[in-house]
């Protein structure tokens, strides 16, 4: 990879990064695989005849069919020749976008995963499942375009465990998405909703369908704060001071609900799905829902 090649020029940096990578990668990948193993794999045909291994149907041979295409066993039971057609099994391209902004690094409790960790885990586990099903999985950015195969998993894991960006809130990047493919956006969607709208509109233009997953910490739902408080964003660019935080609770929750409504209606308009996932809920159920969603909208 280009990054590895770049790093090899600085042995010390390579070593340090390799260790950091190795420290994060196997657990994430292993956890993702472990979680993916709990999901029952169904068959994944295209319901069309075409290139593939599975039997689809017999049809009478036309003129022009190659003689070796004729299924002699079936033809022997009748007077006409039959051709055995197989189901078209083409791989789908799936793009994953995991918000790497600072806001995702938040966790309301020291014992709880950060939102970013949960989002990466969900994305990679979905990747494991899809690649095992023969799909091509990649990121929305140009670092890792959709490919199939186990090696792609390593690439994905590597790309997902990069250091977080410096921006406070992230926006999806839909430019590199292939037309007609699928996409999964994982973010807290706390930033300006315009960027999401733009990206979704662009993706819908390309015929891309997908899922919006809003990953939230429980404290972001319940807002359990009181007293005189200065709230700061994780990167520290935004701050808001209140004398009595408890008074803001209801209005904050109203704004959050409004944000969810907006995302939900946006998804409806573009044919996407929208779901909210909390980091204190089990990741398994979210993964199952995601996987079914990816199957259902094909």
């Amino acid at each position: 990879m280009s990054e590895a090649g770049h790093l090899s020029a600085r042995p010390a940096g390579l070593r340090r990064n390799a260790e950091a990578l190795a420290a994060a990668l196997p657990p994430l990948l292993a956890e993702a695989r472990h979680m993916a193993a709990t999901v029952q794999l169904g068959d994944h045909g295209r319901r069309l005849s075409g290139m593939g291994d599975e039997f689809w149907q017999y049809r009478a041979a036309y003129a022009g069919d190659e003689a070796r295409a004729i299924d002699w066993r079936r033809s022997g039971r009748a007077d006409v020749q039959f051709v055995r057609e197989k189901e078209w099994q083409a791989a789908q391209s799936v793009h994953l976008w995991v918000d790497d902004a600072q806001s995702m690094e938040y966790s309301g409790d020291t014992g709880r995963q950060s939102k970013a960790d949960r989002a990466r885990l969900l994305a990679l586990a979905l990747g494991v499942l899809l690649i095992r099903a023969g799909e091509r999985v990649g990121l929305t950015s140009a670092i890792a375009p959709p490919r199939s195969g186990e090696v792609q998993l390593l690439r994905l894991a590597h790309a997902l465990t990069r250091a977080a960006g410096s921006a406070d809130f992230g926006a999806p990047d839909a430019r590199a998405i292939l037309a007609g493919s699928r996409a999964v956006f994982l973010s807290d969607f706390m930033g300006a909703p315009d960027a999401v709208e733009t990206a979704l509109g662009r993706a819908a233009d390309k015929g891309v369908k997908g899922v919006l997953v809003q990953v939230l910490d429980p404290t972001e739902e319940s807002f359990p704060f009181d007293g005189r408080t200065i709230f700061e964003s994780i990167a520290g660019t935004i701050r808001h001071e209140t004398r009595k935080a408890g008074d803001l609770r209801a209005r904050y929750q109203a704004r959050l609900a409004e944000r969810k409504d907006r995302l939900s209606s946006l998804a409806r308009q573009t044919g996407w799905l929208f779901v909210t996932h909390h980091t204190d809920d089990p990741a398994q159920s979210a993964l199952l829902w995601l996987y079914n969603a990816m199957r259902a909208d094909r």
């Binding site: 406070d168 807290d188 404290t219 408080t229 964003s233 994780i234 808001h240 009595k244």
Partner: protein, 924 residues
């Protein structure tokens, strides 16, 4: 010092800090609590939300009030609050400080020293001169005024004396008082005495007199003595106000010569009572050892009563007719006398002429009819001697005292004796009549089984009834007595042995002798007896009641000791002369303690320093507590107290409140120990000696478990759980069997432990010594364990040993075994050797052996390892190899069963030798 009501402040200027409180109030009110910074991604949604109201940003009033209160308390606490402050008003002119310096001061001497020091310190501040006089030690000449600081340097040399100020000294001081005006501080011991009032008047003429008295009453011990079998001692007190309780302890030497407390009695003074008595019911031999009485907690010479010869063992001479029938100990005329007297008195043997030289207190003549030294004995009795005579066959056969009153008999006797209830006489043996009130025996319980079958009868006459102090149920005299000079003669009309009556066998006999011997005790010698003697102090009491050696004290003439005037010339203590001892005590005979009376113009204070209560610590503590509550409240208000922190804070608060009550009572270890002992005494317990090596002890315990289970399963012996014991501390008497594994670094038991072990072995216990080295060497000194065993067992009372003979009862007490393997096999096992004269039993394959259980079994086969099982019953250690090994373990268990059977049943199996003979006898 600033005084507000009952509270004073040592540093009142600090209280000006309270003025700053209103400012603080305003400041605290204006400044809202500091905000918390929180990182929160949802802040993007919060932008533009304004607070609904601005009123809650101020600290609530109750929190403010809490803080103000805490701060006020802090300031007050540092200002040094004092409850009931003592205010010294400074006088002027010289200050005379008087202290009685008597024994009654000793109890709170430290407090008096502090009081004097405080007075001197104040005099130093005021620039006054001072003089310090101890009234027990009045210096010759006029007191000189010196600088107070200078006087203070003499203070450490001031000590209480074990006597009291003398009248002469006080009156002399009156004449020597310095001219001019001066104030007086008199630290009184609280006792009234001659000369005191005069001195007080004289002092009041010179200036202000302040008296200091301890609020506690003065207690002292009066005369000690014996009455109705009890040691009695008087307790005196001075003021007699209100009821009061005290404890009097008796101290003396224990049998090993160490002084310890022998008894303790509580006494209660009723209101207004100044004199009461404590009684000690002590056995005679304990009473003989009393060296002093003392009032518990009163460290004064007056609260100590030394005892002297009056409590010494009496010398009793025992004279019999001589040893006629050698060997018949129980029939000897003096056997029971000796048994009854020897624990409590010093016995002297010999002829009358011999014993008179030793000047005994009592002479007992057991069935001695004719006495040659009548004049010498009479003279001795007139000086206070007590002669006790017993009748007997000889006296009955003689004609002593028949025709006229014998000088050495209390009454005239009738010739011949009387025999009742015998084979040749009518009637039943006579029992005793209750003792009359005039009898010295009055109050002694009469056992119903005491009977008299033969006696010597007295000649009836008018003088018989008053002489009789005990009689039989039919009115014939049993004991008579007659006073001769200062002494007396007592006749028991029965013999001193069990031939004529069972009196000598009963406890009544001892009681009667005790009453007689005590009533005949040595009294304090009077002035006449003391005339011409010189006594030297051996030990003297100091003011605190401690006995110290007397050094460089001149001898005291005996006359002065008759009614001693305690003072520098005759300090209280123990005086000795020619082997006799005399105790001189602080409180003389008939002395009453009288509380000091002060004239009306003299102010009497208590020891005031003790009454001041410093409140600083409490106030500061309360302030800290308020701050703590404030901290928690502030956290709660600021939203910093969430979830687990609430419970943590609650726990902290609860702990603070409960901490003083959380002193858990200690678990009663002694009770558990008692339970274990009771359990061991009621059951068979296999015990093992703890070696200090944890692994060896574990194996021992597991081994005893294994053997206990084998016994339970196979025999009717049902042991309870085994116990590890330490011969140093544990009572061995309840165990029958002791397994003692020998380790190289085992500590050697102490001599006390050895004496316990020896007693254990002598009384039927058995120790199985196991050197656990059977694989390395045969038993012997070849291994370190063997050498250690020799060192350990050397002080033990172990008989000669031999390897177990083939016919030893161990080989057949339950199983028939010939080897005694443990984990190892083949090493010899040693037991007590059979006597050399053991013979082959007739018709039996074994010898007639001794009836004893061998006290020790010694070997090195590591039996405990072979027996050891864990909790689940699995063997802990392999034995041998394969089936042969299991067979060896089985034999090891059989040896263990045989061993315990041998311990429990002794030589029962050996006695089977006699079965044929018994069967034969039964058959006839």
């Amino acid at each position: 010092m600033l005084v507000l009501g009952p509270i004073g402040f040592a540093a009142p200027w600090l209280l000006t800090g309270l003025l700053a409180l209103p400012v603080l109030w305003l400041l605290l009110r204006a400044v809202p609590p500091a905000p918390i910074r929180r990182r929160f991604p949802g802040v993007a949604l919060l932008l533009g939300l304004d607070d609904e109201n601005h009123e809650r940003d101020r600290t609530p009033w109750w929190l403010l009030f809490l803080r103000m209160l805490a701060t006020a308390l802090l300031i007050a606490g540092f200002a040094g609050p004092v409850l009931d402050p003592r205010i010294e008003q400074a006088g002027s002119g010289p200050l005379l400080i008087l202290t009685d310096g008597s024994w009654a001061d000793a109890r709170d001497w430290a407090g008096r020293g502090k009081r004097i020091e405080a007075a001197l310190a104040e005099a130093t501040r005021a620039g006054r001169t001072a003089a310090l006089i101890s009234l027990t030690d009045i210096p010759p000449g006029m007191p000189t005024w010196r600088g107070a600081e200078d006087v203070r340097s003499n203070l450490p040399a001031l000590q209480p004396r074990p006597w009291e100020p003398e009248e002469a000294g006080l009156l002399r001081l009156v004449t020597q008082l310095p001219e001019g005006r001066f104030d007086t501080l008199w630290l009184s011991d609280g006792l009234e005495r001659a000369g005191r009032a005069e001195l007080a008047r004289a002092l009041a003429g010179h200036g202000e007199v302040r008296a200091v008295e301890s609020p506690r009453d003065v207690l002292a011990l009066g005369e000690a003595g014996y009455g109705s079998g009890q040691a009695r001692i008087e307790i005196l007190r001075a003021r007699g106000a209100g009821p009061h309780s005290a404890e009097v302890a008796v101290r003396g030497l224990d049998p090993s010569g160490i002084e310890r407390e022998l008894g303790r009695a509580a006494v209660d003074f009723a209101d207004g009572e100044t004199r009461t008595e404590a009684a000690f019911d002590l056995p005679a031999e304990v009473r003989n050892r009393i060296t002093r009485f003392e009032i518990a907690g009163e460290t004064t010479a007056g609260a100590v009563r030394l005892t002297d010869d009056a409590l010494r063992r009496r010398k009793v001479a025992l004279v019999t007719a001589g040893t006629g029938r050698e060997g018949l100990l129980l029939l000897a005329p003096d056997h029971y006398l000796r048994q009854a007297l020897s624990p409590t008195v010093d016995l002297i043997d010999g002829t009358i002429a011999d014993v008179l030289v030793a000047d005994p207190d009592v002479i007992v003549l057991a069935d001695l009819a004719r006495v040659a030294e009548t004049d010498a004995l009479t003279a001795w009795m007139e000086k206070g001697g007590l002669l006790i005579r017993f009748a007997g066959p000889r006296l009955a056969a003689s004609d002593v005292g028949r025709d006229e009153l014998d000088p050495l008999l209390p009454v005239r006797l009738r010739s011949g004796g009387r025999s009742v209830g015998g084979t040749m006489s009518w009637g039943a043996p006579k029992s005793l009549a209750p003792f009359p009130e005039t009898s010295p025996f009055f109050g002694l319980p009469i056992p119903p089984d005491v009977s008299v079958s033969a006696q010597i009868l007295a000649q009836p006459g008018p003088d018989l009834a008053p002489a009789t102090i005990a009689e039989l149920a039919d009115g014939t005299p049993l004991v008579t007595r007659r006073a001769i000079g200062d002494g007396q003669v007592v006749l028991f009309h029965v013999s001193a042995n069990a031939e004529w009556s069972s009196l000598a066998l009963s406890g009544l006999f001892v009681g009667m002798l005790d009453r007689l011997a005590v009533t005949g005790g040595t009294d304090r010698p009077d002035a006449e007896a003391l005339a011409g003697t010189t006594w030297v102090a051996e030990k003297v009491l100091d003011g605190f009641g401690a006995l110290g050696t007397a050094e460089n004290l001149a001898g005291v003439a005996g006359e002065d000791l008759a009614d001693p005037v305690i003072g520098p010339g005759i300090p209280p203590g123990l005086y000795a002369s020619e082997g006799r001892h005399l105790a001189v005590n602080v409180i003389g005979a008939g002395r009453d303690l009288v509380a000091a009376r002060w004239q009306a113009d003299i102010a009497v204070e208590g020891m005031a320093a003790a009454r001041e209560t410093l409140l600083g610590g409490w106030v500061l503590g309360a302030s800290l507590l308020l701050y703590l509550i404030d901290a928690i409240a502030a956290l709660a208000l600021g939203g910093r107290l969430r979830g687990r922190r609430i419970s943590a804070a609650g726990t902290l608060l609860l702990l603070l409140v409960l901490a003083p009550f959380a002193l858990a009572p200690g678990v009663s270890y002694a009770a558990a120990e008692d339970d274990a002992l009771i359990r061991a005494a009621g059951n068979v317990v296999l015990a093992y000696v703890k070696t200090g090596d944890a692994e060896v002890d574990r194996i021992s315990e597991a081994g005893m478990w294994g053997l206990s289970e084998a016994l339970f399963a196979r025999t009717s012996v049902e042991p309870v759980e085994p116990r590890g014991i330490d011969p140093e501390t544990d009572d061995l008497a309840v165990y029958t069997f002791l397994y003692w594994p020998v380790t190289v670094d085992q500590p050697t038991p102490s001599p006390q432990a050895y004496s316990r072990l020896n007693r254990y072995l002598r009384t039927g216990g058995m120790i199985l010594f196991d050197t656990r080295d059977g694989d390395l060497a045969g038993f012997g000194a070849a291994t370190p364990e063997g050498r250690r065993l020799q060192a350990l067992a050397a002080p033990l009372d172990i008989p000669p040993l031999e390897p177990v003979p083939r016919d030893h009862v161990l080989t057949r007490s339950f199983y028939l075994v010939q080897d005694f393997p443990g984990r190892y096999s083949g090493a010899p096992v040693w037991v007590e050797a059979a006597p050399a004269d053991a013979e082959q039993a007739e018709g039996m394959p074994f010898r007639n052996l001794n009836d004893n259980v061998t006290p020790v079994v010694i070997g090195g086969n590591d039996w405990a390892s072979a027996w050891a099982v864990d909790d689940a019953g699995r063997y802990l250690f392999p034995v041998g190899r394969g089936l042969g090994g299991e067979r060896q373990r089985e034999i090891a268990y059989r040896f263990g069963v045989n061993l315990i059977m041998h311990v429990l049943t002794g030589n029962y199996k050996s006695d089977q030798v006699h079965v044929p003979a018994l069967l034969e006898r039964l058959g006839q």
